[in-house]
Amino acid sequence: MATPDQHTVSSEIRKAPAPVLAMAGLLAVAVVASVCVGASGLSFSRALQGLLVWDGSADHALVLDVRLPRAVLAVLVGANLAVAGLLAQTLTRNPLASPQTFGINAGASVAIVLTVAILPGLGTGGTVLPAFAGAAAVGAIMWFLSLSGAVTTVGLALAGITLQLVLTALVQALLIMSASTQDLVFWLAGSVTGADWSKVSVILPFTIAGCAAALLFGRHLGVLELDVTTGQSLGQNTRHVAALASLLVVLLAGSAVAVSGPIGFVGLIVPHIVRRLPGGGDLRRLAGLCLVGGPLLLVCADLLGRVVAFPAELPVGIVTALIGTPTFLLLAARQRHR
């Protein structure tokens, strides 16, 4: 089963190479720029040298241990969130779904803050499991609401946003009670600052597994977009497929929140943008496009946050909120016209 699937994946990508390749090129440029721009004022050539020449100098260490992991982390988190958003939108057949609007990010945050408050010594690796638990709990609630078909598209989004408000307030409560607010404020806004290779190694397995599963099973997952009866008549066990999709959403979003905090709007807007690109349509192609588009958005937002507030920096979550809010409004307006 693996071979024909892989074959189809590659042929799909061959069919629609232009947008993916163009975005991959842009992403490469953005990553290089992200490595070259920073507070220490390294020149472009020195930064490139640090990246390419392993001479053990201070510049090399700076590039290799500070800037490169940050760029890589932004890439991985962006891919996770975008693919999770795409799957959530497909699963709930709701264009306003995303890890953030459905409160899944906030659920993971509550679980992480709670864990850190109880066990302060825990590193990033230890917060992944609680993040999954929190994300899964909220995901289950939202999935239950959307499956019943009772709540309208907009109503569901509103329910998710309200749920997110409750959870954010709970996070605030925990922070006030544990009086360790200052350390967590930056993380809470959503940020890839302070990235190192250990964080990359925490998220990397989930990114690879989740995105590979989304690409491999994309054909099956795409059936979720149709209604249940049609899905069954196409020979799919819709329950199993939906369970797989929810699991992937939880894994991808939960691990992203664990390393970078709740970064909003990436999962919401990237799937919508890539749907309008020429390669879009089929879920596998969309997932492929999200895999490149999410990182592109997040790396650029991170870069922007560092350039705008130089020499301080803006958490990337704030930048994505500033970009994402107008886009969200446009989406909502289009939703109305349908």
């Binding site: 609401l145 709540v151 946003i161 404020v185 994402g324």
Partner: protein, 366 residues
């Protein structure tokens, strides 16, 4: 149901839930069923009385409880100028008074917003008013000198809330003015205001702890000046509140029905939203961003007296005051000698209630 103008004709008694009928029986017993008032009205009167008694009891408990415990007799003594005058009149009474006033304001604001947006999940915090006010307050704290903060914070809150509301109305009008857009625009503005708050927190991390407590909402440290200011503000708002109350029923119908009743739907909505903004701004200035009160209080009130505006609004004020008073009291009692901000207690109670609302909504349609 035929639309009628409120106040002119008595509402027809409808099928009542078990609790409501129990309340009605109680009412019938207590009033000897002598006069032929409609049952609904009697229920409402009993509900008012019960809420008022509970509120008084909570307020009394709130005044009596603290580092120095006072007996009810001491409290009465302190209120009338006896032995514990200072504790009662300078510390505890202002705190209880502020929580009553702010709770009432938020409860009524919730009714207006739910009526204007025709959505049971709408409340000042969901559509971003609270957060907008929070941004204004934080910006005021950071921009003004410490001496000027006494007036800079209220100005900042009112500016922040008004800008959010104006943005809400203008943007959603540009996008077509339908109700769903209004709600979504509110949610988006809320996210934007949240990002702005986070930005300010990141810029000034040394004030983050303090700001977090304020943003979560707390009546800690209220003094007489706060009470006077809030009371004056609410008194100024009162005419608008009365006007808006008369529009609550009309706004509940669809836009077409509003037109056929001779009212302008956009103007009705603007009136309700404006009243909600002013009330929220007053409350946020004095107690910070207490969430869920605006969601919870109207629902409890509707459960007790039904959804006719002229009964719902006073009841929502009572339930809002009661909830905030109780939340403050609970926050002080639970973790002695520490205090949990009232806003957090409200969220801990309000969160599960919201889930219940969502699930009930699902069941209703399934």
């Amino acid at each position: 149901m035929t639309p009628r103008t409120p106040g002119k004709t008595p509402a027809r008694p409808r099928t009542a839930s078990a609790v409501k009928s129990a309340l009605a029986t109680l009412a019938a017993l207590s009033l000897h069923a002598a006069n032929a008032r409609p049952a609904r009205r009697r229920t409402a009167l009993v509900a008012y009385a019960v809420a008022l008694i509970l509120l008084l009891a909570t307020a009394l408990a709130g005044i009596a409880f603290g580092a120095v415990s006072l007996s009810p007799a001491d409290v009465v003594d302190g209120l009338t100028g006896g032995a514990n005058t200072f504790i009662v009149q300078e510390y505890r009474l202002p705190r209880v008074a502020v929580s009553i006033l702010a709770g009432a304001a938020l409860g009524v604001a919730g009714v207006f917003l739910q009526a204007a947006l025709r959505n049971p999940l709408a409340s000042p915090d969901v559509v971003g008013f609270t957060k907008g006010g929070g941004v204004g307050a934080m910006a005021a704290v950071m921009l003004s000198s410490p001496a000027a903060q006494a007036w800079a914070i209220p100005v900042g809150v009112i500016a922040g809330t008004s800008v959010t509301a104006a943005g809400l109305l203008l943007i959603s009008r540009r996008l077509g003015g339908s109700l769903t857009t209004l709600v979504l625009v509110g949610a988006a503005l809320s996210a934007l205001a949240g990002a702005a708050i986070e930005y300010l927190l990141v810029r000034e991390p040394q004030s983050a702890d303090q700001a977090m407590v304020w943003l979560a909402g707390s009546v800690y440290g209220s003094d007489r000046a706060d009470v006077t200011a809030l009371l004056a503000w609410l008194a100024v708002c009162l005419p608008l509140v009365v006007l808006a109350t008369r529009s609550v029923d009309v706004a509940g119908f669809g836009d077409d029905s509003v037109v056929s009743l001779g009212r302008h739907p956009v103007r009705v909505r603007a009136l309700l939203v404006t009243a909600a903004v002013l009330l929220t701004a007053g409350a946020v200035t004095s107690v910070g961003g207490i969430g869920f009160l605006g969601l919870l209080a109207p629902h409890l009130a509707r459960f007790a007296v039904g959804s006719r505006g002229h009964r719902l609004v006073p009841m929502a004020a009572l339930t809002g005051a009661l909830i905030l008073c109780l939340a403050d009291f609970a926050g002080r009692v639970v973790a002695v000698p520490n205090e949990i901000p009232a806003g957090i207690v409200a969220v801990v109670v309000g969160g599960p209630y919201l889930l219940y609302l969502l699930i009930r909504e699902t069941r209703k349609h399934a």
